[in-house]
């Protein structure tokens, strides 16, 4: 099976579409699609002068911090119009937007270097060291 990504936004005038606001929420949500982030979540995001952030999701208190993607990387949101029924069929995705920065949220715990997402990004540096010529 192969996965193809089409970027129909390559020549878009709207640069904001690749600089959208993204939140990484410490919770598995069984739902795929649009969410009323602006209405239900962002009114309660509070940022203190020293950069600590708080918010709340489903009654759970969250502690957050802004995170920038590593140099040379950017995040892309891809959507699939229709998932093929056969498991080994080729799949096609369309680029729907992206972001360069995100807010990383922990449940009732200050974000730190030991958080999984931060540690997962270690791989980028290690891979670079291992595979570069």
């Amino acid at each position: 099976m192969s996965i193809q990504i089409e970027n129909n936004l390559k020549n878009t005038e709207n640069k904001d579409i690749f600089e959208q606001r993204a939140h990484y929420v410490p919770c598995k949500i069984d739902e795929d699609g649009a969410a009323n982030v602006k209405k239900y979540f962002e009114p309660y995001v509070v940022e203190s002068p020293d950069g600590d952030m708080t918010a709340t999701f489903r009654g759970h208190g969250l502690d957050g911090t802004k995170m920038t993607l590593p140099e040379g990387y950017r995040a892309v949101v891809a959507t699939e119009a229709k998932k093929p029924l056969a498991e080994d069929a080729d799949r096609r995705f369309q680029v729907a937007g992206g972001f360069k920065q995100l807010v990383y949220w922990n449940w009732d715990k200050k974000p730190s270097k030991n958080d999984n997402l931060v540690r997962a990004l270690d791989w980028i540096d290690i891979a670079e060291a291992l595979h570069c010529d």
Binding site: M1, S2, I3, Q4, I5, P26, C27, K28, I29, D30, E31, A35, N36, K39, Y40, F41, P43, Y44, T56, F57, R58, G59, H60, G61, W107, D108, K109, N116, R119, A120, D122, W123
Partner: protein, 313 residues
């Protein structure tokens, strides 16, 4: 503050996802004369809106002022009567010169967040801390407290022991239905109830819902309007606006049925430690095909939840 309207305006200026304390000036006489202080709460049970802790205090020998105000069993008073008594507390000289009060408005969001902490913080703890902080605040503002009366729904003994430990100099009485026995607790109860009622009346939804208390009701799970609100005002992802106490079973059950399932990380407890120990029978299980062990990925990847995915083209 001189009227209920001013109370409403004061509540409106506060962010309704945070707690705040609203209090009267300290009557001069309370700094010298020995004072009694009553504590009561309003809105413990409802699934909507804040819980309010109220305290009222006055000189021990000024009990008659409380009686003249009409501070009797607050449960027997109508909402109009409570509003009237509170207005007198804000305006009449006899009251202003003898009776002080304070209210701690505990937001529904704070209640949900506390009950959904990693180390759970029960509603009783939230309540007790609020009462303790209010007593401390009044004492710090210069009031000569000698007697404290507290209304409780739970068993009084433990509560009384805890308060006596924190405030060893005060004569402390914790009792069920204290608000029908001690006028100073009735006064505290009126402060709490009136504040809660008006907080709901002026509730504005940061989520932008164009609704008011005539549509979401009293907040008690039995109120048909509240039931309707809990059933209908659901966002698939976010659940409810923060007027709702997410940690109430009424809300939890409805979200389980109607909103997207959300699973938070499990908090480690003693049980999970046991699960990590291999059972003895696992050592006798036949090895997988060909007797070869499947190669495991390095711990580095496992810890970071990194797995191999398909490459894009």
């Amino acid at each position: 503050m001189q009227s209920l309207e001013e109370l409403q305006n004061c509540i409106k200026t506060q962010s309704n996802s945070n707690n705040f304390v609203n209090c009267s000036n300290v009557p001069k006489i309370c700094e010298n004369e020995p004072c009694m202080l009553g504590v009561d709460e309003a809105g413990r049970g409802p699934v909507l809106g804040p819980m309010v802790y109220g305290v009222a205090y006055c000189p021990v020998n000024q009990r008659s002022v409380l009686e003249a105000l009409g501070c009797a069993d607050s449960k027997a008073l109508t909402e109009e009567k409570r509003d009237e008594i509170f207005t007198k507390m804000l305006t009449e000289d006899d009251s202003l010169n003898n009776v002080g009060w304070a209210a701690d408005i505990i937001s529904p969001n704070y209640i949900s967040n506390s009950m959904y902490k990693r180390a759970k913080h029960s509603l009783n703890e939230v309540s007790m801390n609020s009462a303790i902080e209010l007593i401390r605040r009044v004492a710090d503002s210069g009031v000569n407290i000698t007697e404290v009366y507290v209304d409780t729904v739970g068993p009084p003994e433990k509560y009384q022991a805890k308060l006596s430990e924190i405030f060893p100099k005060y004569k402390i009485t914790v009792a069920k239905k204290a608000d029908s026995i001690y006028p100073i607790v009735s006064a505290a109860s009126i402060v709490a109830k009136v504040t809660r009622d008006h907080a709901l009346k002026v509730w504005q939804f940061p989520e932008g819902l164009e609704m008011n208390h005539t549509e979401f009701g009293s907040g008690y799970p039995g109120d048909p309007l509240t039931k309707k609100f809990i059933r209908e005002q659901i966002d698939k992802v976010f659940g409810y606006p923060l007027l709702v106490r997410f940690s109430w079973s009424t809300a939890e059950l409805m979200l389980k049925e109607k909103a997207a399932t959300c699973t938070f990380e499990e908090v480690d407890d003693e049980d999970s430690a046991k699960k990590n120990t291999k059972s003895i029978s696992s050592f006798f299980v036949a090895k997988s095909e060909n007797g070869a062990k499947k190669r495991k990925r390095h711990r580095f990847f496992e810890e970071r939840y990194l797995t191999m995915c398909n490459a894009f083209e």
